[in-house]
């Protein structure tokens, strides 16, 4: 337990996290690109066409991982917001707010690819399907969190307020999903199941799972980069941040110049 709390505190300290993130972020990006490329090859070239949907189903290899990520990022944000509010840990505040833009990006991708998939399958760009509707509400929740975060000037207060909203949203999210499902059965709308009850073929499954792994890694890559910025912003006067700022040159990208300073 002592060892655990020790590491928790050590990792929670901004300079330590910054150093760790600088090392880890390129690995996340690199692995994500490699795994993503393999998954793409598997999904677009190796996997057979679906007997019902033909090749249109190949959107699944990005649509479903993006949908998973949209939820994962929200839960990640809410967990960090909770830690930040209860234990007032600076790092968690920054982590929570850093995961919001990427989460919103994945939600947006889910909606657009879902719509692009729906057009050939349902003959319409948009349908008030339970999942799409919940996803739309999720996007609004993300935008609300981001909007609130940018509307407050004090960075730490903004992170706490937006984190609080994220927590309210996480309570709301299952209720939204439940209510939208209920509403959908009431209306018996144009619900067409994208994924039928048919079992998914192994040749289709492994690229999907690999892509999901790649998107997770990509998420952590951008998360680490954003968190470094956020920590720098709220810790600007501290020694570790000052030395990074002093080492950076005007006009140059941060990443290039920091390497000279260790």
């Amino acid at each position: 337990m002592n060892v655990l709390t020790y590491w928790f505190h050590k990792l929670g300290s901004p300079p330590v996290f910054d150093r760790l993130a600088r090392v880890l972020a390129p690995w996340c990006y690199g692995l994500a690109l490699v795994l993503g490329a393999i998954a793409l090859y598997g999904g677009l070239a190796l996997a057979p066409a679906d007997y019902q949907q033909g090749d249109a189903y190949r959107i699944i290899f990005i649509h479903v991982p993006a949908a998973w990520m949209s939820l994962f990022a929200y839960i990640f944000m809410a967990v960090n917001a909770f830690i930040a509010l209860v234990w007032r840990i600076k790092l968690s505040e920054v982590l929570a707010m850093a995961s919001a833009p990427t989460g919103a990006a994945f939600t947006f991708i889910t909606l657009v690819t879902g719509s692009l998939w729906g057009k050939p399958m349902w003959g319409t760009w948009w349908t008030w399907d339970a999942r799409l509707t919940s996803e739309l509400v999720l996007l609004f929740l993300y935008l609300g969190v981001i909007g609130l975060y940018h509307a407050i000037e004090d960075r730490r207060q903004a992170a706490r307020a937006a984190g609080f909203l994220a927590l309210v949203g996480v309570v709301n999210l299952p209720i939204v999903h439940f209510s939208v499902n209920w509403w959908n059965t009431l209306h018996q709308g144009s619900t067409v199941r994208l994924l039928g009850p048919s079992k998914i073929d192994a040749a289709m499954l492994w690229p999907l799972l690999l892509m999901a792994l790649a998107t997770h890694l990509w998420f952590f890559g951008t998360l680490l980069a954003r968190t470094r910025n956020g920590l720098l912003e709220i810790d600007g006067g501290k020694d570790w941040a000052r030395s990074i700022v002093l080492a950076s040159q005007p006009g140059a990208a941060g990443a290039a110049t920091e390497r000279s300073h260790v």
Binding site: E153, D154, R155, R156, I234, D235, G236, G237, K238, D239
Partner: protein
């Protein structure tokens, strides 16, 4: 203010290494001071030196970035604090649609009532007895300030935190504030007041905590002793005025 009296009873209010920062920009501190019962202390400082913020931190509305506040020797929490302080801030907390008396009655309901005083007598105490039924919006700025002071007077608390109590007041009103403070100190209360220094509290033992715009070296951390964040660096020392510091040998 001999060291002996400091030891014999815990001070009403004690700040150790108290600092507040916004967006990593220090607003004030680190500050050390104590406030004993029967004392009225003036917080002096230029515009933007953090006087208002200091009072908001001491009232519990803001959480200090560093340091601690002790009340009667116990570390501060909002629950412990709120029954013991009355805050007069720039926004005087009066509803313009309500009359002076209605405002005071509400305050009495919310915060409770000091023994031996009632909303009408408090209003009379600040020289506003003729205005009980006038909606507050029709009062002048100075008159509103008096009503707000009456609200502070009503509250059954020992510690007054008054932000610019002299602002907008005529000379007679300034005398009134000094009288109120004096009586409160005699009752065993204490007060921290801010002012630009124009009308200082004159009676009793005047003592002040200078809160100047922070010297820039503290912002960058250069020239500051190692182990930043530890209490002990008092701005009061810089200015040559020495607010009592606990733990420092006399």
């Amino acid at each position: 203010m001999s060291p002996l009296t400091e030891i014999s009873r815990p001070p009403l209010l004690e700040a150790r290494g108290l600092a507040f920062a916004r967006n990593d920009e220090p607003v004030f501190g680190p500050l050390d001071f104590v406030l004993h019962t029967g004392e009225v202390v003036l917080i002096e400082g230029d515009n933007g030196s953090g006087k208002t913020t200091l009072l908001r931190v001491l009232s519990g509305l803001l959480t200090p970035t560093e340091g601690e506040i002790r009340l009667h020797g116990a570390p501060l929490t909002l629950d412990l604090l709120s029954p013991q302080v009355a805050l007069l801030s720039h926004a005087n907390g009066l509803k313009p649609e309500l009359t002076a008396l209605e405002n005071l009655r509400f305050a009495a309901g919310l915060h409770g009532l000091r023994h031996g005083i009632s909303p009408p007598t408090a209003l009379a105490g600040v020289g506003m007895d003729g205005y009980a039924d006038v909606p507050t919006r029709r009062l002048s700025a100075g008159q509103k300030k008096r009503v707000a002071l009456a609200r502070v007077l009503l509250a059954p608390v020992a510690l007054w935190l008054l932000d610019e109590p002299y602002a907008n007041l005529d000379p007679e009103g300034i005398g009134l504030v000094n009288r109120l403070l004096e009586n409160h100190a005699h009752r065993g209360g204490a007060a921290l007041i801010t002012s630009h220094g124009a009308y200082a509290y004159t009676s009793g033992t005047p003592r002040s905590i200078p809160l100047h715009a922070r010297p820039a070296r503290d912002l960058t951390g250069e020239g500051r002793p190692r182990g930043d964040g530890l209490p002990g660096h008092s701005l009061g020392d810089d200015a040559g005025l020495s607010p009592a510091r606990p733990g420092t040998p006399p």
